[in-house]
Subunit: 327 residues, 2 copies
């Protein structure tokens, strides 16, 4: 069945019938705007991310269920990076006439499933025809009390630099997909990242990070954003970068290619944060309780230089090696 | 100069430099999410609208300044239809490589100019490449106290039906643009609608409307939405529909074409509301003070039928005449 067969209102009705009215929703889908009740004293967090067919995804290499999940996940990751609690979201889509209703059903199944995992509810949006490919635009609205919000600008010299999970898997997964390989944890991580919302909120509640960002452009680029906003430099130690067994097996422990994927590949959707060194034990305890890996990969320094150090203390030339997206 | 020449971060920096930090903005553009402070006791209103090149606009017939204005205006109109005050917005764009930086400068000039008129501030969004045409996705966040929010569902039999401004001009303007004609109030209304935010808020403050919607799909279709949500019918009188002198001169006072443009043309972005008949004088006084035309075009009835009456009391066959988009 084609989208044209059921029309815009038919499609909206089809989607809406599956949407449970979430907490704090006074007016949901079906009016000119949604009305929601913010928690008293909290600030509103809002973020938008757009996913474009042919740029961010390829319908040949992704299935609609995981595409639906990922579209929401990358937005949730931005709220996580502020230490916020995601609450509601709006979904707008430009849909080419070739897309089937079954595709959209699966897409919504994936997206609403992820939404349920995080108790986030769909409150509105827009659907229209596309003259090009499929375009997905999501706005997530979250909240957090002002004193708990974690910005990019608070890193101070001497702070330790931490990352969750492992890096490079998503970029490796994308390479594998392009080469026609599917299955395995790397392609999985690329197609279906899991946003670190729980971790971001736990960090915010404990008021541990001095600065935080989610890694979407690669560790060096996103650390670069923190350093720029915090007017600081950093030393990152290559042999402390957390890599998965699968990644190491596929890429080997050391090569320009390995480093490029891990440090500049992007789409990791892990959290990168800085914290005073006095909080180090607390960080490890917190992440042990969450059952999420965390690693200290370096230190914030005075000045503005970002150095990448080898195990023997030597320094890699970031610019020469071509992973200086951060500059 | 091309978008590729300055890159995504260059483009964001270029836009951001022109954005004044608005009221209630704690964290603006440049972090993972924006943080804003909602008014105490108010509900949050949020709405998203997407505009797609080749579907909603054509770069041959619209200039970037008015396109920027319209993109924001159609979203503001949705907040107006709830009786809300728009506060902040997020802008996401998928941009084809052929689009010049100058085009985007003009687009932002138009959009930020309109934003300033309504004291609405840009707090975030996303820019990315497009594999097809230009896609603009906007989310506007507004607020209103719960007791003042106007929904679609409150119309009651006996209520009068009112519309602001005049109808059909935008649809006529679109026809003229397609025929290569430019200039004049109709094309102006189509390309550059002015959202009735002030009127919506004044109605909400006076708690006059029992139901309200903005006319984007045509009077009959949008009245149909109110009637469906309110489980009511309506009688609309054709000779009470407000038409502009220009529209009447171009289309003549009566024809199927005239009626179709005025009742089902769409993109009027006027407010359509219902109210108890006892509030009629107050409505006229309010709109006189706002210097905005308002007209009573019919009455809400029991049942579910939407009738369109001629001056002699006869009834037009809405279905047969093909303007039954509302069904």
């Amino acid at each position: 069945m084609n989208v044209r067969d059921i029309g815009e209102f038919g499609l909206i009705a089809r989607f809406t019938s599956r949407v449970a009215k979430g907490a704090g929703v006074e007016v949901g889908i079906g009016d000119d705007a949604a009305a929601t009740k913010p928690a008293e004293g909290a600030l509103l967090l809002s973020t938008s991310d757009m996913l474009v067919e042919g740029i961010h995804f390829d319908l040949d290499t992704c299935d609609p269920v995981t595409l639906g999940r990922k579209s929401l996940s990358v937005n949730l990751s931005d709220i996580a990076a502020m230490g916020g609690e995601p609450r509601h979201f709006l979904l707008s889509m430009a849909i080419p006439p070739s897309v089937s209703v079954e595709f959209l059903d699966d897409f919504m199944y994936g997206m609403l499933g992820r939404a349920e995992q995080f108790e986030v509810s769909l409150i509105g949006g827009d659907t229209c025809a596309s003259s090009g490919g499929l375009v997905i635009s999501i706005t997530v609205i979250g909240e957090q009390f002002p004193e708990k919000i974690i910005r990019r600008s608070g890193a101070r010299p001497g702070d330790i630099i931490c990352v969750t999970g492992t890096l490079g898997d998503s970029a490796l997964g994308l390479e594998m997909l392009k080469a026609g390989e599917r299955g395995g944890p790397a392609t999985q991580k690329h197609l279906d990242p899991f946003p670190r919302v729980r971790e971001g909120m736990a960090l915010a509640d404990a008021r541990i990070p001095s600065a935080m960002i989610d890694i979407s452009d690669g560790l060096l680029a996103d650390l670069g954003h923190i350093l720029e906003c915090s007017a600081s430099g950093a030393r990152v130690e290559w042999d402390k970068i957390p890599l998965s067994p699968f990644f190491l097996e596929k890429c080997g422990p050391f090569s320009d290619h390995t480093m490029s994927l891990a440090l500049a590949g992007g789409e990791d959707y892990e959290l990168l944060f800085t914290a005073p060194p006095s909080r180090k034990n607390e960080i490890f305890q917190l992440f042990a309780s969450l059952d999420t890996p965390v690693a200290v990969v370096g230190e914030v320094t005075a000045g503005s230089k970002l150095s990448l150090l080898a195990a023997d203390g030597g320094e890699y030339d970031i610019v020469k090696r071509g992973f200086n997206h951060f500059s």
